[in-house]
């Protein structure tokens, strides 16, 4: 139920959103959800409205949600959700991610706009910095006269 927050998984978790349209199943084969209707209400409903609804939530894009917990702090990524547009994403984020006073400001970014580094590149990206201690300021001996560093 809860989606993975990181960029790489978010793209993968999108499923039907990004699926090749050519591979999409024909409408008739997709699962259909029937809405529950109280019998007493069903009697008053126009018959044409009793058709099953096709759940279309998987066609909504995925959004990454960032919350600022306090004035002065930065927005932190808290998770993702599906929404039809930015306004709905922010309102849903309010209900999903700020119900326990987690925040005072919400950012929503459509997941497709987030570009992530490829985990396969990790070796060439990050390992070379392992043996370069001189890139840390603590590597250098400071003259005694220097204070407040």
């Amino acid at each position: 139920m809860f989606r993975r927050p990181n960029g790489a998984n978010a793209t993968a978790a999108q499923g039907p959103d990004t699926a090749d349209p050519k591979k999409e199943k024909p409408v008739a084969e997709r699962p259909i959800s029937y809405r529950p209707v109280a019998p007493a209400v069903a009697l008053n409903v126009v018959p044409s409205l009793l058709k099953p609804i096709r759940m279309s939530n998987h066609e909504w894009p995925l959004w990454e949600i960032f919350i600022r917990s306090k004035a002065g702090l930065d927005h932190k990524h808290v998770g993702s959700l599906h929404a039809a547009d930015a306004q709905m994403a922010i309102e849903m984020a309010r209900d999903v991610y700020t119900r326990r006073q987690e925040g005072i400001s919400i950012w929503a970014v459509e997941s497709k706009n987030i570009h992530a580094s490829n985990p396969d590149d990790a070796v060439s990206f990050y390992d070379p910095s392992n043996d370069k201690v001189y890139r840390h300021p603590t590597f250098y001996d400071l003259p005694d006269e220097l204070t407040h560093m």
């Binding site: 809405r35 409903v45 959700l81 999903v96």
Partner: protein, 249 residues
């Protein structure tokens, strides 16, 4: 006074209970959570009011007495809030009518001569302002959505319209409370309510129901004459306490 507080509390409790029935059945996870949050806001408001009623009544009564041990005829909620959830459009039409009313009502109740009710109104107003934003947004989305969502939304508005009038028809209790400066003049809220609903429907490309022209509306809830639905809702809500009185966990 008790009768008036119970009217307000029962509105909140029964409406919150109805919304809570969506828990686990929402169309998507996010909406499921939103509806449960809103349901909890109402149940919270109901608690504050039942506590107040219990304090006034004394006799060792607690807030639990009112929701769990009164029979259907003792409930004072309006018929609108006990109507079944139906489909999502029905729930949103009911929400739009009720939330719009509650924003106007709590705004007015803040000026109540009763300090406790004024304080509850002030706290609840913040909550219902968000509820209205949520329901208004969905009515517009569904009305201005697909052919099917438009048809369902229009149908829901028409179905529930005759239940809205009761909101603005003061009972004897409400008249007495208004005379005492405790309750606002609810009949006076109607023109603004109609204006706000009209605006929302227009933005949602929905038409204003034809019945709106007629003055007739359902009534009875405020004096305990309810639709058949409330009894079933209470049976579920009260089952545990009636089968195992005083049961706690």
């Amino acid at each position: 006074m008790i009768d008036y507080i119970l009217h307000l509390a029962d509105n909140a409790l029964i409406y919150g209970h109805r919304l809570s029935e969506w828990c686990g059945h929402g169309p998507i996870l996010e909406v499921d959570m939103a509806l449960s949050n809103i349901a909890l806001d109402h149940v919270g408001a109901a608690r504050s009011l039942y506590q107040y009623a219990a304090e006034i009544e004394g006799n060792g009564k607690t807030e639990d007495f009112y929701p769990y041990f009164r029979d259907v005829r003792a409930f004072r909620n309006v018929l609108l809030v006990e109507q079944p959830n139906g489909d999502f459009a029905d729930t949103m039409a009911r929400a739009l009518f009720f939330d719009t009313y509650m924003v106007l009502f709590y705004t007015a109740l803040q000026k109540s001569s009763d300090a406790r009710l004024a304080a509850i109104a002030e706290k609840s107003l913040k909550e219902v302002t968000y509820h209205l934003r949520f329901s208004r947004e969905w009515v517009i989305r569904l009305g201005d959505g697909t052919e099917e969502s438009h048809a369902r939304m229009q149908h829901a508005i028409a179905e529930l319209w005759p239940y809205a009038g009761e909101l603005f028809a003061p009972s004897e209790t409400e008249r007495a409370m208004q005379a005492a400066g405790i309750a606002p003049d609810i009949a006076a809220l109607k023109p603004e309510w109609e204006r706000l609903i009209g605006e929302t429907l227009q933005e949602a490309t929905l038409s204003y129901p034809l019945q709106a022209a007629g003055a007739w509306h359902h009534s009875g809830g405020k004096t305990g004459v309810h639709s058949e639905y409330l009894g079933f809702a209470l049976a579920e809500l009260q089952y545990l306490q009636k089968s195992y009185p005083g049961c706690a966990w």
